[in-house]
């Protein structure tokens, strides 16, 4: 018993200051942000992210700092990461949409109703996976029950149908979220016809544009600019992978 208490005490000593410190960093960062010191706020938020990786709100806050500093490309990248982790949050959706709109892109694919897009992203991918698992488990349980008792056949069929629909939804979301996307982070980057500066430039792409990465050679990435449908090669240093 004494050993257990000692272990709990030591854990508390280690964990509590870390929590307090993370809170302090966030408060400091917010203070910087409110005073318009976005670079300092960014530095503080990035430090906080080291302690809490994959925190969607920290991604969002870092995106805000980049947006205010004029780096809309990096802002889009961080907003996208926040959106992947927490697509239900309206603030994240709003800021991502706004940042994308400044580059001529749209969060909602062309032709898809806004409501449908919101419904598609009502759950995070992890939550959707959990729901899919639950439906699968229940379908299996009732299928077994039906095999043994020849009862609950209709319920088993309904659950099976739900499982199939959820599997389709999960597949769609998984495909969308694992699309090899990147965003133009440099103020302006030239889209060239080949992986090198000796190839002529066909277009100049401003920061904040989403691109789909197709191939990679040395330090060059073959991309398709989503909003314009242009295909070409961009230097890797000018892109931020999402």
């Amino acid at each position: 018993m004494k050993r257990l208490l000692a272990a709990l005490f030591i854990t508390a000593i280690c964990v509590i200051p870390t929590c307090l410190r993370a809170g302090d960093i966030k408060a400091t960062a917010e203070s910087f942000y409110r005073n318009g010191q976005y670079a300092q706020a960014l530095s503080a938020f990035e430090q906080a992210l080291k302690n809490a990786p994959n925190d969607p709100y920290l991604y969002y806050n870092i995106g805000n700092c980049y947006f205010k500093m004029g780096s809309k490309g990096l802002a889009v990248a961080y907003y996208y990461r926040a959106f992947k982790a927490n697509p239900q949050n309206s603030d994240i959706r709003h800021n991502l949409s706004l940042a994308l709109a400044s580059g001529g892109d749209s969060l909602v694919p062309t032709g898809m109703p806004e409501t449908l897009h919101r419904a598609l992203f009502i759950l995070s991918l992890t939550e959707l996976k959990g729901l899919l698992c639950l439906a699968g488990w229940m379908a299996c349980f009732f299928a077994g029950l039906w095999l043994l008792t020849h009862k609950a056949g209709k319920l088993t069929l309904v659950l099976g149908g739900i499982f199939v629909l959820l599997a389709g939804w999960f597949y769609l979301r998984h495909s969308l979220e694992n699309e090899p996307l990147a965003v133009v982070a440099s103020p302006v980057v030239e889209l060239r016809s080949g992986p090198g500066k000796n190839f002529p430039a066909s277009a100049a792409v401003q920061q904040g544009h989403l691109v789909r990465v197709l191939d990679s050679k040395d330090n060059w990435q073959e991309v398709i600019v989503r909003s314009e449908g242009l295909k070409g090669w961009i230097e890797q240093t000018a892109l931020e992978r999402i």
């Binding site: 966030k26 408060a27 960062a29 917010e30 942000y33 809490a52 925190d55 969607p56 709100y57 920290l58 969002y60 806050n61 805000n64 947006f67 205010k68 927490n86 949050n89 603030d91 709003h94 800021n95 706004l98 940042a99 759950l123 995070s124 992890t126 939550e127 959707l128 996976k129 959990g130 729901l131 698992c133 639950l134 699968g136 488990w137 299996c140 349980f141 299928a143 077994g144 029950l145 095999l147 043994l148």
Partner: protein, 593 residues
């Protein structure tokens, strides 16, 4: 004889007609551009033997750079064609005078021809705006009316008197020798000539501390002490760059006096020698550029120097919606090139976001001395209401009075209605007049989220329960296994029940043996149809059927076979006994594990 005399007279008449000289001159065009070329063709027909070249008149408006002579004789008639290729030198109307040809003591002349020379495009000077350079024909100036001329013209005419007696000379004069910095002045260079010349390239004067733009060409005539001079004039606009001394170097013209030069062929035909080239230059001019006074310089002074400026402001449109853009433009017109002045600074207007545009500047149409500059800014009102654009100020320095003067535009009013777009996008509720009462002013990202990261939902937690996959799959496998076993036992149970039912309904011995056969097939997959009795008993033995039961089966099966194939010996009582025995057999077989 009469016939001979008639023949001779005809020969003489035809010879005299044949010997008639004909001189014609044509040009390939009567209208041409300054960078075009003109071909003058002079044709001499009927002149045989050694002939001299036709004499061209003075052609000050052209440079003759190519000559060709061709001669052909057909049936004893000689035709000489002289082709002159010429480049025009000045814009305007040029006259090719009468071309004369002397042959056997007689002089032949052509009619004068008029040629119009146009400029293809306005002349632009590097660093200056596109200006229209015009050519004018000045009225002839006589000795007596100099006093009536404007000062610059009088200065030039007076300088021409200093060269009286010289057949060629160049004079230059400026409108003001002590201009202020950026004050536009005019430089005029004139090439006077009283005799013919050709090949006369012109050399612009060199400048220091001055900015120069071409302002046009002119042609004219002046009588100096009874000698008629024609002149070619070039005008320039000059502005002083900085205070101090400025110099206008010599402008020069190199030319060859006399008529057009003759080629080797010309000399062969008896032409004159080519005159040596001569150069005439204007005297250099020194200017003193005066600085602009710093005292009294207003904030709205952007560098314009001169007189006669006009300034006005305009708003387009004067009524709009919130969030929609309107254009505020201010236009200034005046002497000189306003492009060199700095841009007007629009004052900030509360409630209106300003986006300044690049100003536009050029010379006024049909003017080489006055220009305009339009300053524009796009204004976007944030909210509805009435806005007042304050009066704009634009100052210039008047060199005549040596003072700064300020021009002021009238204040403008802008009426802004609520944005219809904003109302349709953001509907926060209905009001009586249909307006939502909320307007979109601008868009920005939302503020930071200071909350802790959201706790994983129970669904997210479920996704981590991977071990449950195994449990569920195991459950399903067990269920499938159990279900498959149950299915087999059920089939077997069903075999006994069905056989029992068949036995109860059996009316013949065949029915009884069929019921037993169906039972054996369903229970042990033993087919009695293709097997002899001994094999069936062996199969039952393999299935673990006891020997007594096997004996019971053999006895009953044999009796049934006999009854089936000798039905006469059997009766209803016997069949009922067989049924009971068969039922007992099935019970015994059912007891086998």
């Amino acid at each position: 004889m009469k016939r001979l005399a008639l023949f001779l007279s005809c020969v003489v008449l035809s010879t005299s007609l044949w010997a008639q000289v004909k001189l014609t001159a044509t040009t390939d065009k009567t209208d041409l551009a300054l960078d075009d070329e003109l071909t003058l063709t002079v044709q001499v027909s009927g002149a045989n033997g050694n002939i001299v070249m036709p004499q061209l008149p003075s052609l000050p408006a052209f440079n003759v750079y190519s000559r060709e002579v061709s001669q052909s004789t057909i049936n004893g008639k000689t035709t000489s064609i002289f082709k002159y290729t010429m480049l025009p030198r000045f814009v305007g109307k040029a006259t090719i005078g009468a071309i004369t040809f002397n042959y056997q003591g007689k002089t032949y002349q052509t009619q004068p021809m008029e040629i119009r020379i146009y400029r293809t495009a306005p002349v632009t000077t590097k660093g200056a705006s596109a200006a229209t350079v015009t050519t004018t024909n000045h009225p002839a100036t006589s000795d007596t009316d100099l006093s009536q001329l404007p000062p610059l013209e009088r200065e030039l005419a007076t300088r021409a008197y200093a060269h009286q007696g010289q057949p060629y000379f160049v004079v230059a004069a400026v409108s003001n020798k002590k201009p202020y910095v950026n004050e536009p002045i005019t430089l005029t260079v004139r090439f006077y000539y009283s005799k013919a010349f050709y090949d006369a390239p012109y050399q612009n004067p060199t400048l220091s501390n001055l900015f120069m733009e071409e302002a046009g060409d002119a042609q004219g005539q002046q009588t100096v002490n009874g000698i008629i001079y024609r002149y070619e004039e070039k005008r320039y606009r000059l502005t002083g760059v900085s205070q101090g001394e400025a110099t206008i170097g010599s402008a020069s013209v190199s030319f060859r006096p006399g008529s057009s030069p003759l080629s080797v062929l010309d000399r062969f035909f008896g032409g004159a020698a080519v005159e040596p080239e001569q150069t005439v230059s204007s005297a250099p001019i020194k200017l003193q550029i005066r600085p602009l006074p710093t005292q009294g310089k207003p904030d709205s002074f952007y560098g314009a120097v001169g007189t006669g400026y006009a300034f006005a402001a305009k708003l387009d449109p004067t009524q709009t919606e919130a969030g929609e853009a309107v254009t505020l433009s201010a236009t200034v017109q005046g002497p000189g090139n306003l492009k060199t002045t700095t841009d007007l600074q629009f004052p900030p207007i509360e409630g209106l976001t300003a986006y300044p545009a690049v100003p536009v500047s050029n010379y006024l149409p049909n003017s080489t001395s006055r220009s305009y500059k339009i300053f524009k800014t796009v204004l976007v009102p944030a909210a509805s209401g009435t806005y007042t654009i304050p009066a704009l100020h634009w100052s210039y320095f008047d060199p005549q009075t040596s003072t700064y003067k300020t021009l002021t535009s009238t204040p403008l009013s802008l009426t802004v209605a609520p944005s219809s777009k904003a109302a349709s996008q953001f509907d926060f509720g209905h009001s009586e007049n249909g307006s939502t009462g909320v307007q979109t002013i601008g868009q920005d990202i939302r503020y930071l989220i200071s909350a802790d990261p959201p706790a994983p939902s129970w669904l997210a937690t479920l996704s981590n329960w991977g071990w449950l996959h195994g449990v569920v799959l195991a459950w399903l496998a067990i269920c499938i296994f159990i279900a498959s076993i149950g299915k087999k036992s059920a089939a077997k149970r069903q075999a006994y029940v069905q056989a029992k039912a068949h036995l109860k309904k059996a009316t013949t011995y065949e029915h009884i043996s069929d019921a037993i056969s169906a039972y054996l097939l369903a229970k042990w997959k033993i087919s009695t149809a293709s097997l002899p009795l001994r094999s069936i008993v062996e199969a039952l033995e393999k299935k673990g059927v006891k020997p007594q039961v096997r004996q019971q089966f053999s006895t009953l099966w044999e009796k049934l076979e006999s009854a089936r194939f000798a039905p006469a010996q059997a009766d209803t009582q016997t069949r009922t006994q067989f049924s009971e025995q068969a039922l007992a057999l099935l019970k015994a077989l059912e007891g086998t594990k």
